[in-house]
Amino acid sequence: MTGPHRIAVVGASAAGLTTAKALRSRGYEGTLTLIGDEQHLPYDRPPLSKQILAGTWEPDRTALCGAGELGALGADLLLGRSAVGLDVAGRQVLLDGGDRIGFDGLVIATGVTPRRLPGAGLAGIHVLRTLDDALSLRLHLLGRPTVAVVGAGFLGAEVAAVARGMGLDVTLIDPLPVPMYRQFGARIGELIGQLHTDHGVTVRCGAGVRRFLDTEGRVSGVELTDGSVLVAELVVVAVGARPAIDWLADSGLPHRDGVECDAFCQVIPGIYAAGDVASWHNNHFGTRMRLEHRMNATEQALAVAGNMLGAAREFAPVPYFWTDQYDARIQAYGIFPADADIAVLHGRPADRTFVVGYGHQGKVAGVLGWNSPRELRTLRQLVVDRTPWPPKASLREAAVAELPDQGMPTTTARH
């Protein structure tokens, strides 16, 4: 055997921890070092913008594994330590404080960092990425401020839903025409905007933030690019994230939007990447992608662990992701290009129980379910099989009459 015997994993969240566990479960017996920049033991992030923010879970329910399981991993766990550099030729990770961790196998799983907006240093302006962020945000929401959420992607939409659920006055702001436009396009985005409007959120799409109003160092409002001004005592900035790759700047490794890997998640021999930080070529869809989805962190970590130990298997999954907002459970498989066609495959949008397919380049690229988990799981196969578009066999006659044009509102109500 000539496999690695000194593996370092940088990043101790879902992708990093899962890689470490999978290496062990596949029989890796060498040295294993797991490095994380937070003090907390590894925890799960999806509940942060849902149960943790809403206060329905105690923080310890987000633990990714118990202390016993962590001990059984037989890893050197370095928490509260940041990687600040990588010496590729010398095969060493440089840590803050000057330590160097040697390796013959490396996994880059450093995730992403929230983007910030100019002027967002004021008191009362929050981001949400870490457990500490979520607990701080919850504490401040309990003071019942008027809330503005900037950015209506997954995170912003979920935060708005939770804050509204706490009975707060919430405005959801995005420069794009509807919420989640980038993720799911105009029609589903309109339906999500309607969902928020129905629950009493003021949806202000189509205008971005020009500046934050400053009252003695504390945010007091938001001025939008259309000139309007909103009162806000608390602002959540949820305008996306960028890969945490600053530490690789001088490494010589290829990185633009994330660490660039091949179809096997390998950057260069012996160095792999997994999770939110990894950009790789997914041959199922014939395109490069980087996913900030929980499920991908696990699947990619398993693939990386296997390939590090010689599996030589392409990582070509059908991505899965979900969001819970109010009473809507929205789940999706595949990819959702902006110029995709859309058709109803099950149920009725008017009933808020349906599955839609997204067609792109002549094939089913994605399926999205709205409160239809079982049907979606079955229709996922269309994406797995790269079924020609439109998928006539699965389109019931009645569903043709229920295309989004009929079933969905054409404008988002605005206040």
Partner: protein, 65 residues
Amino acid sequence: MPVIVDQDKCIGSGQCVLAAAGVFDQRDEDGTVLLLDDSPPAESLDDVRRAAVLCPALAITVEES
């Protein structure tokens, strides 16, 4: 080797059914996990372990004995 599911954590992804259809199912109304067999046969254990690892909500525990 007992299998335990946490319906409160479950987000209805159905990954468990994709991995081990004989052991897991989903509730009709919201997709929440249903455990069909809490002591699955040995030949399905690899699938069940895979379901536990893949579950994006960490709602499945396999008690290794």
